[in-house]
């Protein structure tokens, strides 16, 4: 009990501090890092919900991200929608895509899911580049309008920082509420032992579709907000290297460990930039980390803590009884 309240106060304080950053510094680079962290926090938590809690390896996250981004951008530039509905529509479309992908592949197997999501992400890239009449092709859509939410005109970096941080907090709260609820418990149960879960009345398909769809919509909306910050959307939002980055964040933080993934996300957004790794070396390093993590500690840092817990109990159980 006290531990959870401590965690709550700690995260509350951290949030206040994060939101206060633009008030104490006008260093736009810090804000840019903040924006990048806030965005990736949604992406990696979304992937964590699907892979970590539901055990489904999804390569489609980057597809949802770009789908939301393009939808929002096109609705605002072509149909003069205002920002909020445009972004929500982006999220909705991503959710539909997630539902269709999930339903068509999950009836078959987790293998099919992994491969279908992969092709979905690749197809998104092809469409973005080659369906010119719709997406304007590789030129992308530059000079996106400044979004306004109500009376708030989101133009300065500080505004975008607050916007994306705010959205990220919202999205992560939703995910946190879900995974700590008994639905999350059921998702883990299904991941840990599908047959047993079924024998206890849990419907695997329904829970998995919930995870995929929710994660898709949250990721899609993140894409929508993020491209307004970039002021341009082009096919590189589907860059496979985003997928690799998301994966490494989840794997390192520990699949199925909410806080672990957020921490590794923070570390991996901030550190490489400050150390100014070139992307090549960064990806070589990430690849190596991925291999080692998978072979040595498949559960990531979070999983390692879990095993410590088991060991402690083993000592209680087979050591001296109370």
């Amino acid at each position: 009990m006290s531990r959870s309240t401590g965690l709550a106060t700690a995260s509350a304080l951290l949030l206040v501090a994060l939101f206060a950053v633009p008030l104490v510094t006008r260093n736009e680079y810090l804000l840019a890092l903040g924006v990048s962290f806030a965005t990736f926090a949604v992406l990696s938590s979304g992937l964590n919900l699907v892979y970590g809690y539901s055990g489904l390896l999804s390569f489609a996250q980057v597809g949802f991200f770009g789908l939301g981004a393009y939808t929002a951008a096109l609705l605002m530039t072509e149909l003069q929608w205002s920002a909020l509905p445009a972004v929500v529509a982006g999220g909705a479309l991503a959710a539909v895509a997630g539902l269709v992908i999930g339903y068509s592949s999950l009836r078959l197997s987790r293998h099919a899911f992994a491969i279908v999501t992969l092709s979905f992400a690749l197809l998104c890239g092809i469409v973005a580049r080659d369906w010119v009449s719709l997406t304007r092709g590789s030129m992308g859509i530059p000079g996106l309008p400044v979004p306004t939410v109500g009376a708030w005109r989101i133009a300065r970096p500080a505004d975008f920082y607050w916007l994306l941080l705010g959205y990220s907090v919202l999205a992560n709260t939703i995910i946190y509420a879900l995974v700590t609820s008994r639905i999350g418990r059921a998702m883990r149960a299904i991941k840990l032992n599908e047959a047993l879960a079924q024998s206890q009345g849990l419907d695997p398909l329904a829970h998995r579709l919930l995870a995929v769809t929710l994660s898709a919509s949250l990721t899609g909306m993140a894409g929508g907000w993020f491209v307004f910050y970039l002021t341009i959307v082009d096919p590189s939002v589907f860059d496979f290297y985003y997928t690799e980055t998301m994966l490494i964040m989840v794997i390192l933080g520990g699949p199925g460990h909410f806080w672990g993934v957020l921490v590794s996300c923070a570390v991996l957004t901030v550190v490489p930039d400050l150390l100014r790794f070139t992307t090549d070396l960064r990806m070589v390093l990430y690849g190596a980390v991925l291999i080692v993590a998978m072979l040595v500690l498949p559960g990531g840092i979070g999983g390692w803590l879990d095993r410590r817990r088991v060991e402690r109990w083993r000592r209680i159980a087979y050591g001296s009884p109370r």
């Binding site: 840019a32 092809i126 580049r129 092709g137 530059p142 993020f226 901030v270």
Partner: protein, 380 residues
């Protein structure tokens, strides 16, 4: 926990850097955001070499305003998100007097709003999208300057030339589905439209495609007079071999990298009749270019390509502006840039129009008798 600590200290370091402004005596630093990794890193490398050479020469000549010049490169892997991050970082560090290039159009377009807000000059050397110039100068962004000509203007010159030779009638187009290819087809179609003509056929391929046999068979079957080929790097090399293997000897046009055609194919005369337009070719016979090619060869053991030239000349334009500005105040440099009268290696004088767009000469190149020949220059 340790990495967290490290990141925090890192953040503090960046904060500290804010204090250290550019006091006199310290070098004048230019920030460059170019792809050093990813699919187009080859060009990033050449852009880097070109600008490095220009800086080195300026320093050898005693620097600028009595201070040494420096240029820092950051990787943007041709991705707007990375471009924004890298440039925001450079702007935040305050020590940079100007931002250089971006190389990819999408990256450059993403950088433009940043430099406008930060009020720091941004010189574009390679990005080809016309949108860049449209949005600059009277187009709104007073801080962006595009030194390389837009495809539209170059292709208009090319088509004029082809029309004169009576070859504009039956041109097929094949290009990569990137801004390079899209800009190419847009430029050609516009230029042909002006002369009541159109392209015989238009095809795109995914960048990174290794096999062109199919699309080549299709194009050959249409028996075009010329093939406008927009391929670069590995794709171009693959296309060359397979176009040769396909036979039929249909010459090329568009922005063909004539200097990268495999020697054997060049010598065979297979591509004779090819007419290409480029902002540059190493074989251009002016004293300035001769000296540049020689210096580049000597320094990097490889011949310069278009990208390296554009980077070189753009950097020199920037240095010239800093000289004339007589200070490293961004506004002063910008005003100096607008008044640029820079003698290009290609002979003529570079100055910016009211869209901050320079109109250097384009060179019309041909392959005749198994050799590259400069057919002439044309104002863009």
């Amino acid at each position: 926990m340790k990495p967290l600590v490290r990141s925090v200290t890192g953040v503090l370091l960046t904060l500290a850097m804010l204090g250290a402004g550019a006091q006199t005596g310290a070098p004048i630093v230019i920030g460059a955001s170019i792809p050093l990794t990813g699919g187009v890193s080859t060009f990033g490398q050449h852009s880097r070499w070109g600008s490095e050479l220009a800086i080195a020469e300026a320093n050898a000549a005693g620097g600028v305003l009595g201070r040494k010049l420096e240029i820092d490169y950051q990787d943007n892997r041709c991705n707007p998100a990375e471009a924004v991050k890298s440039v925001t970082q450079m702007i935040a560090e305050k020590k940079y007097v100007a931002i250089f290039d971006g190389l990819c159009s999408s990256a450059a377009l993403a950088i433009m709003p940043l430099v406008e807000r930060a009020e720091i000059p941004f010189v574009v050397a390679n990005a080809s999208a016309t949108a860049i110039a449209e949005k600059s100068g009277v187009g709104g962004n007073k801080w962006t300057f595009k030194v390389n000509p837009t495809d539209a203007s170059m292709l208009d010159a090319l088509v004029a030339w082809l029309d004169k030779e009576g070859k504009a009638a039956n041109i097929a187009f094949l290009g990569e589905d990137t801004d390079f290819g899209r800009a190419g087809v847009a430029g050609l179609e516009a230029a042909l439209k002006k002369r009541n003509r159109a392209l015989a056929s238009v095809d795109f391929y995914q960048k990174g495609t290794a096999d062109f046999t199919t699309v080549f068979a299709k194009i050959k079957a249409k028996k075009p007079g010329l093939l406008a080929l927009y391929a670069i790097d590995a794709d171009f090399q693959n296309a060359m071999r397979q176009w040769y293997a396909a036979g039929g000897g249909i010459p090329l046009t568009g922005r063909v990298l004539v200097d990268q055609v495999p020697k054997a194919i060049m010598a065979s005369g297979f591509l004779d009749g090819t007419t290409s337009v480029q902002p540059y070719d190493p074989s251009i016979d002016t004293p300035g270019n001769k000296a540049f090619v020689e210096a580049f060869q000597k320094r990097f053991q490889t011949a310069p390509i278009l990208v390296s030239f554009e980077a070189y000349e753009t950097t020199r334009v920037l240095i010239d502006a800093i000289k004339r500005a007589g200070s490293t105040e961004p506004a002063a440099i910008r005003d100096a840039l607008t008044k640029t009268k820079y003698p290009s290696l290609l002979g003529n004088t570079i100055d910016f129009d009211d869209h901050n767009l320079a109109h250097n000469n384009a060179v019309i190149l041909g392959i005749r008798g198994g050799k590259v020949v400069v057919l002439g220059f044309s104002k863009t």
